[in-house]
Symmetry: C2
Subunit: 455 residues, 2 copies
């Protein structure tokens, strides 16, 4: 790309940072939005493509001095507006800092730059018989930096934890350009305050991650995959709790509700709904014995059950989960919501969401990571291209209120971004919220790091 840098943009200081940058409208347009559908006012002023941590430091030093807001960007797959950039802002695109700096199998760790695509790291680890466990559905696009900054979850996190559980240490550039290391290269350590966890999930508002030391895990022994249908969502939720009671730790436990099954059947010509009103897909990676016990537990109350260890059949059983979003997209523009409730309230949450859908006459299909009570209600918010309908917005608000009423949270894994800012204080309370704002001011006194996001 040839850098387009017309005079008179007031951004000449960027030239001293050593980083590539551009004000080309096409490039700016390609880096302006994330996948939330939220549109910021105006256009960002420039896009910067650093290749080194030193260049990131120089950019932040300049931004700090000139009070220029900076939006760090990985792949822009956020669903919350977190990586959208508007008027007056500069996009700091970390996509070119995409080297895997080290894989140390004997230590069970990898060191990666922020722009490494999640799935690429996992594939590189696999060459050593290891894996990077966190697997957001966006893993072929999203970056390690974005995953860390949102504390991304994934299917396997039921057993292997969310992104935070795989982050041992970070290399971070602070708002004024200072660069610090946090955490460690060891699997365990407690020296000082846990700054690492503070940056994890901070949505680019406290510092820019320029490298991460990550935990790798052994590739699991062969898996078994089980798809069980139930007459009612309550039966399916009960089955997922029964697994825990039976000391079975599935790798993933995905729940699909009636509306989702109906949407998939309509789009794909399947007949999932006929087998039962709720589908639970479970995968184990422990011993064959654990798989057998899981089959026995899930079979109780199931109207139909299939299980397999064959890779092709596994893909077929998981297809229903993968087809959920594309199938729902046939109905219109989906709003991908994200709440979590205590595990015991899962069925109640799904039923209440269905009631909200009826009340507002808005289609809502719910899929859930049943193992950890994380639900994704997919609200059909109107035709594609059209703005989000008022009914969809109200239904969303009811769903957030429901999450809090059930003792849960308004975001299980996608984060606050701009879309849920109003809910954060309601969830955490005014004193906690005030403390978070003080933290933000401490880390970023000039308010240049992704302003207006996450808080």
């Amino acid at each position: 790309m040839t850098a387009v840098r017309p005079a008179g943009t007031g951004l000449d200081w960027l030239a001293t940072t050593g980083a590539d940058w551009t004000v080309d409208p096409a490039v700016i347009a390609s880096r302006r939005l994330d996948r939330s559908g939220w549109e910021p006012d105006g256009e960002p002023r420039a896009v910067v493509f650093p290749r080194t941590a030193e260049q990131v430091q120089a950019v932040l030093r300049g931004a700090h001095a000139t009070r220029t807001p900076i939006v760090a960007r990985g792949a822009g797959t956020a669903l919350t507006g977190a990586s959208a950039a508007g008027a007056g802002e500069i996009v700091l695109d970390l996509g070119r800092m995409n080297r895997i700096l080290a894989i140390r199998p004997a230590d069970g760790i990898a060191v990666a730059e922020p722009g490494v695509v999640t799935a690429d790291l996992d594939r590189a680890a696999a060459e050593h018989g290891l894996r990077y466990a966190p697997d957001p559905a966006s893993l072929e696009l999203s970056t390690i930096g974005g995953n860390i900054a949102t504390n991304a979850g994934g299917l396997r996190c039921a057993k292997y934890g969310v992104t935070r559980d795989s982050v041992l240490g970070l290399d971070v550039v602070l708002a004024d350009g200072t660069r610090i290391g946090t955490g460690r290269s060891t699997l365990k350590g407690v020296a000082g305050y846990d700054l690492t966890s503070l940056f994890v999930g901070s949505e680019g508002t406290l510092g820019v991650i320029v490298a991460a030391t990550l935990r790798l895990r052994s590739l699991p022994v062969p898996t078994a995959t089980i798809a069980a249908s139930y007459p009612d969502i309550a039966d399916a939720a009960a089955a997922s709790v029964a697994l825990a009671d039976a000391r079975i730790q599935p790798v993933l436990a995905e729940l699909l509700d009636e509306a989702t099954l109906t949407a998939i059947d309509a789009a794909q010509g399947t007949s999932l709904r006929a087998a039962g009103a709720a589908l639970l897909i479970v995968q184990t990676d422990g011993s064959p014995d654990e798989a057998e016990r899981a089959i026995a537990v899930l079979g109780q109350g199931a109207s139909s059950l299939r299980s397999t260890t064959d890779p092709a059949e596994t893909a077929a059983l998981l297809a229903a989960r993968r087809q959920a979003l594309p199938s729902i997209e046939r109905l219109g523009r989906p709003l991908i919501e994200d709440i979590a409730v205590p595990r015991s309230r899962l069925a109640e949450a799904v039923r209440e969401i269905a009631a909200i859908a009826r009340r507002y006459d808005v289609p809502i299909c719910t899929v859930a990571h049943a193992g950890d009570g994380n639900l994704h209600p997919l609200i059909v918010a109107g035709p594609h291209g059209a703005p989000i309908s008022a009914a969809a917005t109200r239904a969303g608000d009811e769903i957030f209120g429901l999450a809090l009423r059930l003792g849960g949270t308004v975001t299980g894994e996608h984060g606050i971004g701009v879309l849920k800012r109003a809910w954060l204080e309601r969830e955490v309370g005014p004193d906690n919220h005030a403390l978070q704002q003080k933290l933000k001011a401490l880390f970023d006194p000039n308010g240049i790091l992704n302003p207006g996001k996450a808080l």
Copy 2:
């Protein structure tokens, strides 16, 4: 206990807090030290025994206003000076806030006050077929609040994580008496900055924990325990890495070096050393199949191997590990050190520590949580009752330097306290350290919370 509150102590404001308190010298003496052997200057002024969060708030409000330093205390088992209190300070003993507020098996969580003894919570969970996984060796004495404030590790953390991994949310009183909730009651959630992790491991310097929402896990299926001796520490360390390579996740993997085995043999009349210069004790709680694979892996290169599933024999195999500290105490006053290194450097670390012992002519016995590279060199620091020998202090310093040189940390699980303050900045660097100090000032502007500790 009758409260002894002579006039003229300048502490009359304590009477307005509703909490019991005393200036009885015997009570003060019993709450002045922790288990580190470190002696603060002078005596604390009083000990306060709150029974409610509101009383804690009132105490902190008064302390904040009068700038009176407060040392929160659980059971005082810290090994770092973290819970020692000296001149001018007030001990806030949380031992009477010891109710388990809820156990919710269907949600996999418990809610506990800070003074609950770790093992009591685990036993209460066991009544529901669950367990509280973090198991510091002090678990029959230490408290949940102390465990959280130090981010305590334990034997089982190789598989189930350290205390932080079991803390979902906290109820915290800040320095000025404000009370906030952090985190959540769900297994997953990303709303706002991760304040929970910031309080975990903060050693009473950022706030006082008055309740915690904790994750419970299923009790495991029956375990197998394996004790394997090796001719050399390098073989034992290699065996523990080979376990990971074979995708085996032991619950615990404890390594005892030659000096330790010799000390145990001398004290207990056993002949552990004769079987090999290093002993690795491993426990699995997966399937029988996993245990068999572990036996096969550990057998390679072992000079002797025993395994069992029988509870009595299990206790016998674990006895060596349990007897390590008491046996070493026969040699003199032990300094319990605590470093962690990348897993691949474990054998090197043990050998270097043995070399340090020879160089300073100080007995050092090393036991390690091999699974996560966390070593406890037990330095015999002179006769009981005598001050720590200069050679022992110098040997300790060499060990911390060694940890950093090997890419590790000066504390794997015990924390910084007062004893390792000088090392924190060397480990994390001046900019990180400065940021930690700013955090401390933000949370505790008057510097009343456990001043001089952790930073």
